[in-house]
């Protein structure tokens, strides 16, 4: 009951910040379009069997989705700054209920935004997400799960500056290794190291699914994201219980 109260509250809080939601939709669409156009000539010369727009329609999308960690963290620190955390601490509600409620509420709203982005990118920009949309949405939901759990956990455990510093270092690194900024070579050290990034798996799975419905990376990518997410939340939950 109280978990549902926190989930609803979190969704409502996000829905009240309309300007941020509009930015979260408009900015990625603009980026996908710009990169797709800018790199189309290079892509044509490279002889790829997919367009630059389709490549960035996936990698920039996963990059933006992973930045959901920052949004989740920002939401919690905003709570701390507005002193409403004091009231939550005083109320007869368990800290882990607040943690999971916040996590689930943020995940639901960011997942819905991500799905909206996929549909808009497909129908407005004509990005090709393959013959089946199901695996695409599943993978993005899993990536959102990972991003939100990372952001929420760090925000609960660390001060704002420390959490931000860590996220601002981690997110670009994970995105780079995931191939969000540039293609990862087919061989070599970078190729091997790139597989420690969950985004590498998500991007591989999305690319394979988009080009012919190949789902061989789907399960590893889902397990990687869900496993890491569960680990973050479990560690945070244990820490909060010990603290209280």
């Amino acid at each position: 009951m109280k978990l549902w109260l926190i989930i609803r509250h979190q969704i409502r809080l996000f829905s009240k910040t309309l300007n941020i939601l509009v930015l979260l939709i408009a900015a990625p669409l603009f980026l996908i379009f710009t990169f797709g156009q800018a790199f189309s000539a290079i892509w044509d010369k490279g002889g790829f069997d997919f367009r630059a727009l389709d490549y960035f329609g996936i990698t920039l999308l996963t990059l933006v989705v992973f930045n959901g960690a920052q949004i989740a963290s920002w939401g919690i620190h905003k709570e701390k700054k507005s002193n409403t955390e004091t009231r939550l601490s005083l109320a007869p509600i368990k800290k882990d209920t607040v943690l999971f409620g916040t996590f689930l509420g943020t995940w639901i709203i960011l997942s819905l935004l991500t799905f909206l982005l996929v549909f808009l990118a497909h129908f407005i920009l004509s990005v090709d997400y393959g013959p089946s949309i199901g695996p695409v949405l599943l993978l993005l939901a899993a990536e959102t799960l990972l991003a939100v759990s990372l952001g929420v956990s760090l925000a609960f455990l660390l001060q704002e500056k420390a959490a931000n510093a860590l996220l601002q270092s981690l997110i670009p690194l994970i995105c780079f290794l995931g191939g969000c900024y540039a293609m990862i070579p087919e061989s070599g050290v970078l190729h091997s190291v790139s597989f420690i990034s969950p985004l590498r798996w998500v991007n591989l799975a999305l690319m394979a699914s988009a080009r012919g419905g190949d789902n061989r990376y789907l399960l590893p990518a889902l397990l990687f994201c869900a496993g890491l997410s569960a680990l973050f939340l479990a560690l945070t939950g244990i820490r909060l219980r010990r603290h209280s």
């Binding site: 009951m1 109280k2 109260l5 509250h9 409502r12 809080l13 009240k16 910040t17 507005s82 002193n83 409403t84 004091t86 009231r87 939550l88 601490s89 005083l90 109320a91 007869p92 509600i93």
Partner: protein, 309 residues
Amino acid sequence: MIEMNNLTKSFGSTVAVNNISLTIPAGSLFGLLGPNGAGKTTLINLITGLVSPDSGTVRFPGLNGKKATREVKSKLGLVPQDQAFYLNYSAGENITFFAGLYGLKGKVLKEAVERALEFTGLTDTGKKRAKDFSGGMKRRLNIACGIVHNPDIIILDEPTVGIDPQSRNHILRSVEKLQKEGRTIIYTTHYMEEAEALCSDIAILDKGKIIARGTQEELKLMIQDHYRVIFTLKRPEKVDLQAFKKIPGVRHVELEDLFLKVTSEVGIGNLNQLTEEVNRQQILVTDIKSDSPSLETVFLNLTGRSLRD
């Protein structure tokens, strides 16, 4: 009833609360009086369990509990010094959410929200976003969020700082009303006139310690050996306060707008010397009067400082 035994809390090298033992009877309107930084908020945070003490205990015998158990939490209501609600929510949405945390739902929830809005005079603005509220309305919303779950113990931490007189009066009247309903209220303030108007039982806090405790009358009896002379100046001007301090028997001198306030020991008979000093400094005075002891003078006498220093 709240029992505090040997409570101590430090932050680094600063001892915010220093070995405080205090019992607050059930149903009382208890005033915690002290200047900024005296340790009032830390003491409140220790009572509510928001921070843990370095040593000592807080108990709630009437509530069958030690510190911060679920039962105790549901009976405690805090109105923190800073506004603690969501600016993007309306007053009604804020109160509804916080009431929900205490398990209120359905008709009971709706009635509790309406009661809290009415109590704080926000019924007509219940649907307005909190960020569009005036300072006084925000303070009242802060109170509504803290009392909506009908707590037995209500702690108000400086609820009237920085608001207009109308909202201030509304808050003071509301606090009296809450006490008449039988609740235990802890009211912290550095406005001595508020403590005088509201609180039957008062503790004066300074530098983390309770330096005096009692009813208003008991506290004022502590300084029967002091009197205060107030000179009303014709216009604001520079006054050499040090010269007044050199007069035998003078304990404290302060200039507040047009009022030069001199506190002296009784029986020293220095009124002539005070008026001579006024003449010597060529200060134009329109009125001279002596006033009876107030909590302000009690504090002054105990610490040598003004409450608002």
